[in-house]
Amino acid sequence: MSSGTITRAGTTAPADQIVRYTFPERAAHWINGLAYIYCMVTGLALFTPFMFWMATVLGGGGTIRFWHPWVGLVYLVTIFWMNSQWGPDMAPIPEDDQWNKNIESYIKNKDDAMPPQGRFNAGQKMFWKGMFWCTLILLVTGVILWIPEMLPHKAWAHFLLTVVVFLHSVAALITIGLFIIHVYMSVWMTPGSMKAMMDGTVSSRWARAHHRLWHEKVTGRKN
């Protein structure tokens, strides 16, 4: 992609390329992704002794204890940034039911059985919803874990702290599961998607194969 004029999703670019992600969308995604990876690695270091060596690699336990919540805030803010850009495209459409019903065919790469999809398919919407809600749990529990010294030294507060640590871990583990699938699908399973998030563009062919309704909408073509 040589042209620097990408302004809005769906703009037709040269050489039969369609803009899939604008620069602000890609920026939000990658800042979020890097923040997530830092939080995941430092979080795992605190989760299990088998991963505590990651704390040493990243500057020691005190360092990661200081930065994990701050980087978590970056992650949080960019989640909301993405939400402000993609919220409407993440809304369910009637075709999603059929997609969810045929998810096994999707997994087995029998894509002919899948209904046409909008800018995001039903699976991407599932991933987004999972990440978004887990992030809210991580936010509420994370704020308490950031400054537990503000809690009163009472039995109920100490009980709350044990629950909060547990919930924070559970929510984080769910996001790690989603993250593994997300990374696999972009890097290996769906060629072209990494280019979309890096350069911002996809080919017409790719758009029609994976997101037919979106392709029709942005090109005005019904073929």
Binding site: R65, N109, P148, H158, L161, T162, G177, I181, S203
Partner: protein, 291 residues
Amino acid sequence: MSNGTLEVKAISGHRGGTPGSGVSRDYDVCKLVDTTTCIGCKACEVACVEWNGYEFRDTTFDNTYQTMPETAWNFWNLIKFNEVENADGTVSWLMRKDQCMHCADPGCLTACPADGAIVQYTNGIVDFNQEHCIGCQYCVSGCPFNIPKFNSATKKVYKCTLCSDRVGAGLEPACIKSCPTGCLHFGSKEDMKFEAERRVKQLQANGHADAGVYDPDGVGGTHVIYVLNDAKHPEKYGDLPADPSVPFFVKMWKGPLKWLGGLGIAAGVLGVFMHRVRYGAKNVEGEENRA
């Protein structure tokens, strides 16, 4: 405060073995607090602050004899004064020396994620190594006795060391040395239990039918034990829990969740690889596909 002369039995946030696990001779230390002979003189409070080299912090006057409401990061030994009304209308004035109980199954150590920040010696002492502490305060949530205290300036957590530095050098803890009535005893756990039971029998013979030893099983027993003249109601002695244990969610988190989480991550990574091998990629016809 780490002490090189003591064998380490358990280490927080640590994978693999520990040098002293199962290799030591059968000998562990114990502090016996006979609450029935405590006169509330607070010599132990002063000796503790003095030995550990802290400044004497501001006290809080709340119309009792108690120095402050609870122990603090630099005040590890506090006599709790409790006026309790008895069934027959009389009043008991109960004094209890509050400090770290040095649990055999320490919730603080279980909860701690930092390698080496909390250690348990084979003699039973549970000790914090502040240089490895990361200030997360999970130990606070793991302790059923409300003992570890956070210092906002150093971002570290502190508590009673059972004078591991003195014990490692063959001395008794500072509080024991200062006690004028002999209500504090120090020795092997076996000897202290024997002494405590002897005292309980004496109390029972003198009309304290409910007298007993406080050495709670829920945390595997403790290396600080009490003689109470009413062992059926330890709460009367200033929030001493009747049945303390490592909190449920700490056990769940450090037990099943840790293993399920680890297995889940491994299964997830393996799963997506197997998917690639079995089903391949979603190639679009006519596209140049690199992967």
